[in-house]
Amino acid sequence: MYLKRIMAALAVSAALPMAASHATDLEVTHWWTSGGEAAAVSELAKAFDASGDKWVDGAIAGGGGTARPVIISRILGGDPMGATQLNHGRQAEELIEAGLLTDLTEIAEKEGWKDIVNPPSLLESCTLDGRIYCAPINIHSWQWIWLSNAAYEQAGVPVPTNWEEFVAAAPNLKEAGIVPLAMGKQGWQQNGAFGVMVVAIAGVDAWKKVNVEKDAETARGPEYAKVFEAAVKAREFAADSNVQDWNQATNMVITGKAGGQIMGDWAQGEFQVAGKVAGKDYTCLPGLGNNQILDTAGDAFYFPKVDNAETTEAQMRLASLLISKEVQVAFNLKKGSLPIRGDVDLSAANDCMQKGLKILADGGIMPSGDQNLTPDTTTQIEDLMAEFWSGDMSAADAQSRYAEIIESAE
């Protein structure tokens, strides 16, 4: 009796998903695994499941450096996932050239992505030879420093409002037993922080000359020399920060063990998960407080080519869902990133996000490193930065080696 009923119930529950008009399982790979990131990605999964399909989560732990090779080797090896996160820019260039990614131009034109996506550079990074190959999902900018109000209170100094004040306040923090600057010991974090310091100290023009035009002379010049000297100082501030992952470093700021951290706005998700309030518990300074400019890196979803027509259709549905207003709002509020369209209501956003939105609306944007440098060049620079930040390399040595890498960059 009971058994029969259970069997019937099972049969019904198995039949239910089938009953939906188009139910396709889509495996989505990404490297969003920290607390704030996981909360954001579950918003995407919820929305996709609600539309009738099924989001099969394929999170890869260990950050982009670990996840990208896995993702790319799966695509190359003929075992493509339904969709995958990548940072748009030059990472997927060759995959597109090899014809391994689905062309989204049709749906993009139908929905008018060109008019929606703001800033337009985001969609341009998805475009190769006039065809669109990815759906941007958010804007992440590196140019932030996150400061712990409690740490500065304990040290008895006001919370800095720019890099110079931060440098001046560092000795007070040290005296109070607080690490002035939290820094995870991984090349990409050190390189990222360095890039932020370039924009804040040498200015965006010098940055563009080096990263976009690959001008080694500027990299050898006096503006960059100032940055390398500032980096030597920052290295001293971060000497006692013994953590590896970026979210561990963020946690030092959250708990008041460190004064600040230079990290992209994804750090904000961690503050949110910890229940901290922007402006009260922590302070954020875009452009290190020196200039109001953000880069427009970000995440985008790419859809590997598959033979199955049903899967391709589901890919299109996911692409259009990712761009939609509701998903943009829900996802970006959790992630702490900025939406890729200017026409959504983000009044629920906190102090820091509002600052970012305002800069974006004012047009204070610049391209990101990922959009200009190949992974090869980035790896070389990261190796240099890892060596620089962990040892006692002089500013001049680091600068000349940096310039050499830029010289040979493509």
């Binding site: 995959l95 013994n242 090869d376 980035t378 790896t379 190796d383 060596e387 962990s390 040979s408």
Partner: protein
């Protein structure tokens, strides 16, 4: 029926002449065909392909766009590669010598017919049952100044005790060496012990009659007799050195900075993270070349010498 009787059986049926040497031990030859094909296609074929493509500027995908020695020039002017080579040399020489010495000493001690030999053997061999990842993580914790050895000793009252090899660029490779030796010496001990057990009791009796001391007997008589065992050990240790990768990834991930990078990690990083296949291939070709440089003189001494003598 054993394989060795086959030729005579075949001769009974064969009408004339000698059996074709090609069909001698036919079943054994048939059975080894899959392995021969694997070796040819995967090892020789794959190696050749890699070497050829190391002369191209392949990025994410292999492309036959030849650029001569560019990749090698860049490789040898890269600081990280030089650090990797240096680390591998230090690790290799130290690990080769120390593993052999420790392995042989342990084996000789166990060979003295001590009590609980089985227990000790298990304890010493146990690390070998762990993967390099587990070994690396374990030693990362043991060597961590805040939780591990340093902290324990300080809690005993020796406040100024400092042992923090992993966070100092100058000593980090020795921190990895400790873990590598801990993992590898147990196996070498077992092989050596088997070799020691294979020595005839009469040798010992003869040595005793001649009044030669125990240590001297080991060093002067037993050790030279164990030549094949030692060569087996050397090959095992050497292959472990060249492929050193996972231990470093688990223990330090190349840090601090690039102080504990090794060649295999350079290859993997440049092939996949940097999406620069050509550079990775060039690096792996250099690894192959270094193995060959060591192997050829050895093979010449080992096999060439015997023929002459």
């Amino acid at each position: 029926m054993s394989v060795t009787t086959e030729p005579s059986a075949a001769r009974d049926h064969a009408p004339v002449g000698k059996p074709n040497p090609l069909f001698k031990n036919l079943s054994a030859k048939l059975a080894s065909i899959p392995m021969i094909i694997t070796a040819l296609v995967v090892f020789v074929g794959g190696t050749t392909w890699t070497v050829v493509y190391s002369f191209t500027n392949s990025k994410l995908l292999p492309r036959a766009n030849f650029v001569g020695l560019d990749q090698y020039e860049r490789l040898w002017s890269t600081r990280r590669w030089m650090v990797s080579i240096e680390n591998l040399a230090i690790y290799g020489i130290c690990s080769m010598i120390l593993t052999l010495i420790i392995g042989f000493t342990l084996a000789a001690l166990l060979d003295r017919k001590i009590r609980f030999e089985n227990t000790f053997r298990t304890i010493f061999l146990y690390p070998f049952a762990l993967s390099f990842i587990v070994t690396g993580l374990t030693w990362q914790w043991i060597l961590n100044p805040d939780f591990g050895l340093q902290n324990v000793v300080r809690n005993w009252g020796w406040e100024s005790f400092a042992f923090n090899p992993l966070n100092d660029p100058n000593t980090v490779i020795f921190g990895i060496l400790i873990a590598g030796i801990w993992q590898g010496s147990g196996l070498i001990m077992c092989i050596m012990l088997a070799g020691l057990r294979g020595i005839d009791e009469d040798i010992w009796k003869a040595a005793r009659v001649d009044g030669i001391g125990t240590v001297k007997t080991y060093l002067r008589i037993i050790l030279p007799m164990m030549r094949p065992v030692i060569i087996t050990s050397l090959v095992l240790i050497a292959s472990g050195i060249i492929k050193l990768y996972d231990l470093v990834v688990a223990q330090t991930n190349g840090g601090p900075g690039i102080a504990s990078e090794v060649p295999a990690k350079y290859v993997i990083n440049y092939m996949f993270r940097a999406q620069n296949l050509g550079q990775g291939f060039a690096a792996s070709t250099m690894m192959l070349v270094s193995v060959i440089i060591i192997l050829i003189p050895w093979a010449y001494l080992e096999f060439g010498g015997r023929k002459r003598g």
